[in-house]
């Protein structure tokens, strides 16, 4: 039983990390229908800049802040230079964002060097709590808390705030939302920046839990994020959370009980979901998978 609970907690923490990476993509891909393969690059840049500012300023929180600012800036540049000319054209989006992804990855090596970098865990989150036979690693508990808070904030903003309504309406009918007096281009830039900042924050939070970061991590985890958004249902925040937890738990449990399966379990989940629910688990935003 203790083993089961321990595995479950680990799985949830892993799921939350995946959710953090995927949440930004839920906005960019799920809501705005931009196939942004550079998203993983933002994640890697977030990890590097998080560690960089953490070490430089000797403050974990300022490290997170540095990652968020880096994400906002890179997101702004990405939208302006890379994505804006290719809105509505998926093929071009794939080509140009994949290219940009490689640029982002190589730039990391230029700026921070080609070697793996150690990512320290802040002192306050080192070690673990013991409750009976159950071990709770502090940093994992922290990740779970951050993930939950971000989920609640994002969900409420999209569901209840006017800006959430505007984004959803703008995706459904861009002409009409402008005819109602909304500068939708500006709104889309902001959404893109927030989505990128979320990816960067995800990277910065991920770094201490893995202990080491490397430039190619963006390529690996970017794909993960896409899978989660597809399983969850385009543009659905609850869908992304559920899908991320599912993937996290499945990975943790299979890694323990059936290590061979753990390599492919994410793909198997995606296959099963797409066969029985091609629109994903949730599809509240109403954006179809076109």
């Amino acid at each position: 039983m203790e083993l089961f609970i321990n595995l479950a907690i680990n799985g949830i923490a892993m799921g939350m990390l995946i959710f953090l990476i995927a949440s930004g993509l839920t906005l960019i891909f799920g809501l705005m229908s931009v196939l942004n393969f550079a998203h993983g690059g933002l994640f890697a840049w977030g990890a590097y800049s998080g560690v960089f500012f953490y070490v430089l300023l000797d403050n974990f929180w300022l490290g997170l802040l540095g990652a968020i600012v880096t994400g906002l800036l890179l997101g702004w540049l990405t939208e302006l230079l890379i994505v804006r000319p290719v809105y509505g054209n998926h093929i071009r989006q794939i080509l140009i964002t994949l290219g940009f992804m490689l640029v982002l990855t190589e730039m990391l090596k230029v700026v921070f060097g080609p070697n793996i970098i150690n990512a320290p865990t802040p002192e306050m989150f080192q070690g673990s709590w013991m409750i009976g036979d159950i071990t709770i690693i502090k940093y994992r508990a922290f990740i779970i808390a951050v993930g939950l808070i971000l989920f609640i904030v994002m969900y409420s903003v999209l569901k209840y705030s006017k800006i959430g309504l505007i984004v959803r309406a703008g995706v459904m009918n861009k002409d009409m939302i402008q005819a109602l007096g909304v500068n939708i281009k500006l709104v889309f830039v902001l959404v893109f920046m927030v989505g990128s900042a979320l990816a960067a924050l995800g990277g910065a939070l991920f770094a201490p839990s893995s202990g080491a970061i490397y430039a190619e991590m963006g390529l690996e985890f970017g794909i993960f994020a896409f899978i989660v958004v597809i399983i969850g249902g385009m543009g659905s925040i609850p869908g992304s959370l559920l899908a991320a937890l599912l993937v996290g738990l499945a990975n943790t449990f299979t890694a323990y009980y059936m290590p061979i399966l753990s390599m492919v379990v994410t793909m198997i989940i995606m296959l099963i979901v797409l066969i029985f629910r091609p629109q994903g688990l949730f599809n509240i935003s109403g954006v179809s998978n076109k």
Partner: protein, 236 residues
């Protein structure tokens, strides 16, 4: 003559490589309801989209209250007090009726709330289905929502594109009554193929044909001119 509220001057509009509007001239006086008539494909919708900046004119001008808005972005044109009810109604299907209204409100002040109350009295169905997704409304209700939504902000000019399209005669009657009331508060440009409706509401008319403005005048003249009606509107 006083300065018209809206003036379209020698406007040329292209959609991709097609030259759709050719030197269109068009004037709207404050307080009047101006009809835009013409056969299918004549360019009525394109004219409204050109005014809204959704298909901006590549040459010529569009003036609102004397100000040139030819290449002003759509959202700024909307903010100048121009409401738009598109041919397909432009309802955000996944948003509820209430959310469709809220997303349209540029301000949430008392005047806006008053106009909202007024629209809900005009269209009680909207109140009744306030929490229903827009996509689940009937054709007539969608039309009402689209009109109410365009009118919820302070509106000097309302552009309405074929509101009777696909509606049963009883519903058309309701829409006519609603536009009659709205007319008292704002200037309207109405695209309409239903001559009964056009005749009930119009003060002045313009006829478009093949992207050209071919005729204009007061409604009375059109009523008496059987040849015009036959030639361009296919009636009589």
């Amino acid at each position: 003559m006083t300065q018209p509220l809206l003036r379209v001057e020698k406007a040329n509009t292209y959609i991709e490589q097609f030259h759709i509007l050719q030197n269109i001239n068009f004037e709207v006086q404050k307080g009047e309801l101006t009809l835009l008539l013409g056969r299918n494909g004549a360019g009525k919708t394109t004219t409204l989209r050109t005014i809204m900046g959704l298909n901006p004119a590549t040459s010529g001008h569009v003036f609102i209250k004397g100000e040139d808005i030819t290449s002003t972005p759509t959202y700024k044109i909307a903010k100048k007090g121009i409401g738009y009810v598109p041919e397909d109604q432009g309802i955000f299907y996944e948003l509820t009726v209430g959310e469709n209204m809220r997303v349209a409100m540029m301000h949430e002040d008392d005047a806006t709330k008053e106009r909202l109350e007024w629209s809900l009295e005009l269209f009680p169905d909207l109140k009744k289905f306030w929490k229903k997704p827009g996509g689940q409304l009937s054709g007539g209700q969608k039309q009402m929502l689209s009109i109410a939504r365009a009118f919820v902000n302070e509106t000097d000019l309302l552009l309405i594109d074929e509101p009777s399209k696909g509606l049963a005669p009883v519903v058309v009657e309701k829409v006519i009554e609603a536009v009659e009331k709205i007319k008292d508060h704002t200037t309207v440009v109405l695209v309409e193929q239903n001559f009964y409706m056009a005749n009930r509401l119009g003060d002045r008319f313009y006829i478009l044909d093949d992207g050209l403005s071919v005729h204009d005048g007061y409604m009375k003249e059109l009523n008496e001119n059987e040849e015009l009606k036959r030639k361009y509107l296919g009636i009589g």
